[in-house]
Symmetry: C2
Subunit: 409 residues, 2 copies
């Protein structure tokens, strides 16, 4: 059911010097599937991340923040699927710490050099013994070439593994960026999404990487929604190993910074959009652009109202140009001083509403033509400023209901 | 598919002295259905209403507010289904004014004594000629006994007509309250819902009625949600004809006021809950209560996050106690200083989570037992204050998608 999902071959994913990946079949929830990933980083790597703002954030999210704040030099990430370790209270914290301790011992590093991640069902105890028992297998098959298997190892309701890769040349040096992501439901990232990991061999100063991760997250993972449900486990991590002759990127006003930023944004947007293309039950990939706003916040607010409306999403599913539903969503988005008589609405190139009312030249068959496409852009022009925002989302189909009515059973 | 929807017989609906109702088959969108309602009020009636806060509010909503503000004495309501007359710009305003003018002429009153209402598809021109042509038929069959037919005349995707009636005795005088409502999708009223009309023979002073309508709307129509989509046309109107020997209710500190307020709240809650019971595709009726909050606003915010979560709603549809999804919704509701370690979660009488984590005594089969019921209460105890709020909602099923993918076609 995925929408124009690109064919991803293991051979397209460039190895990143300084990053090795290994998996285990640890039987966390179901047998015979890759459900644990270990990503080992070379000494000297710079790592930065952003995490969910959900107040019921998972135990591993809390521990990740602690370990990043310790600045001990992150040496490995460990991810399990099948269980989110969220809503699990103190036992959940102990399970996450035990996981970090076990992996640290196996890799001869300290526990606060490990970043832990979990994804799966909320409110169930993490089977930490099975997870720890799987770590030796994951370490045994660590290799730089295993990005595709890494993408497979973090899937839950994903139907396809999600990965992307870039190679750019800066000042004669080849910089590689390769990343993986997962997610198909409970997707309305609010800081980042569960889970996005990008590795690069660039050498990037910590404050520069911290700022870059936020910049990129806001324009990629924080600009997608499937169902409006912000996960308890969202995490987006960039690891820069510095395995290159290119000098450290230590300031934001150099051409090298700009080239790296653009490549990181590009790969992050691709990884985020792959999540939407594989959205639970998705049959359409929808881009919502809101322009002419007073500030980005109000543009995003209106874009999310459209992107979350079950009525708008089912109309896309049906290819039905019932476009008044989009006006209704704009109207209830909560921008209280909105003058609707200044608003234009486009569906791709078709001007549907002009100055707040139906465009006299709009013909139903033009709307119908666009609605039948698998990729559609909704463009709202507010006419009250210069700010803009873009959101990527999908439709709401029968399969979304089926998938989420069946997820645990 | 409606959930425990009561059997409503025309004979149960008490006539309200001073209110007559008549309908027409005006062919607004489809032939052979009642699609126009006229409700005539006796001279001297007091009328008050609340309306949608959607910025794309429909032309009739704008005109209703104008006519109520004119204080000319409302003498009739006119409602059409099949077309919302929203997103229709200036032509929509002209169509609504033409409707009021035509009805005013037929009833020998002035145009600003008419309140107009529309419900149906947004962004399509109102066929005002057909609407006006139907008015004589509606006037010809005006009668006090026609509340059931009135409920039928305002249905859109409703599967059942919605009406309720109360008779109370105050100071030896019989006071009647009878009302109708409609709505099954695009339901997250924000002031009131499209459409609720209550008539009563009580005599109520205008400022008292104005305050009462807001009080009641917040505890009935403003406490339901189906899909989170706030309609462009929501309207809730109470008309008090004063056709009684009971003295005017002119202050809020009398036993008569309290008795009338309680009866009005009771009938309004019933009418609002009928909308949820007939929610598009609904198979479960869910009560969400959030207690122990600092203020009502934060309790409502959390209740809506739960009530709108597609993941929570599909879990109810599946009778799957995947209750971590409720914790996730609480966590992303936007109450930023929430201490989750103080939160308890109950499903009916089952304590699922205690102090922010899974209750050690919770057994899956207890959750399963409650989830299988057709009526379920979710109770969240925040442990940070004395405020509380209640919301009524339904699940998200395949039929919701089918209904909204097919609505216009």
């Amino acid at each position: 059911m995925a929408v124009n999902f690109p064919s991803i071959e293991a051979s397209q994913l460039h190895a990143v010097p300084g990053v090795e990946l290994g998996w285990a079949e640890a039987n966390i929830r179901k047998p015979n599937r890759k459900d644990v990933l270990v990503m080992r980083l070379a000494a000297g790597s710079t790592v930065s991340g952003v995490f969910t703002t959900n107040r019921f954030c998972a135990a591993p999210v809390t521990v990740c923040k602690e370990h990043l704040a310790a600045h001990a030099g992150i040496r490995a990430l460990v991810v399990n699927t099948g269980n989110a370790n969220a809503g699990t209270g103190e036992p959940g914290m102990l399970a996450t710490r035990a996981t970090c301790d076990a992996l640290a011992k196996l890799l001869s590093v300290s526990s606060n050099q490990i970043l832990p991640f979990s994804t799966g069902v909320i409110l169930e105890p993490l089977p930490v013994d099975r997870l720890v028992a799987g770590l030796p297998q994951a370490i045994a098959n660590l290799a730089p070439a295993h990005w595709f298997e890494a993408a497979q190892s973090i899937m839950t309701t994903d139907t396809l593994p999600k990965a992307a890769s870039r190679q750019i040349v800066i000042d004669g040096q080849t910089i590689v960026l390769t990343g993986v992501s997962k997610g198909a439901g409970m997707i309305k990232p609010n800081m980042a999404t569960m889970l996005g990991f990008v590795g690069t061999n660039a050498r990037v100063a910590q404050p520069v990487l911290d700022a870059l991760v936020k910049y990129v997250a806001d324009r990629s993972f924080n600009a997608i929604t499937i169902d409006g449900d912000t996960s308890t486990n969202d995490s987006f991590i960039v690891a820069a190993t510095g395995q290159t002759e290119l000098p450290e990127i230590a300031s934001t006003d150099t051409p090298a910074f700009a080239a790296f930023r653009d490549a990181l944004l590009s790969i992050s947007q691709e990884l985020a959009q792959l999540i939407v293309r594989d959205g639970e039950g998705a049959t359409k990939f929808i881009t919502v652009t809101v322009e002419g706003g007073r500030d980005v916040a109000e543009c995003r607010q209106i874009a999310y109202a459209i992107g979350h409306s079950p009525l708008v999403k089912t109309a896309f599913f049906a290819s039905d140009p019932n476009l008044g539903r989009i006006l209704a969503a704009i109207g209830y988005a909560g921008v209280n001083d909105l003058d609707v008589s200044k608003i234009d609405l486009y569906l791709d190139d078709v001007l549907v509403a002009r100055a707040g009312g139906r465009n006299a030249d709009y013909r139903e068959e033009d709307g119908q033509r666009v609605m039948k496409q698998s990729e559609i852009t909704v463009r709202v022009v507010l006419g009250r400023g210069d700010a803009a925002a873009t959101l990527w989302t999908c439709d709401l189909s029968h399969d979304y209901v089926s998938i989420n009515a069946d997820y645990r059973s």
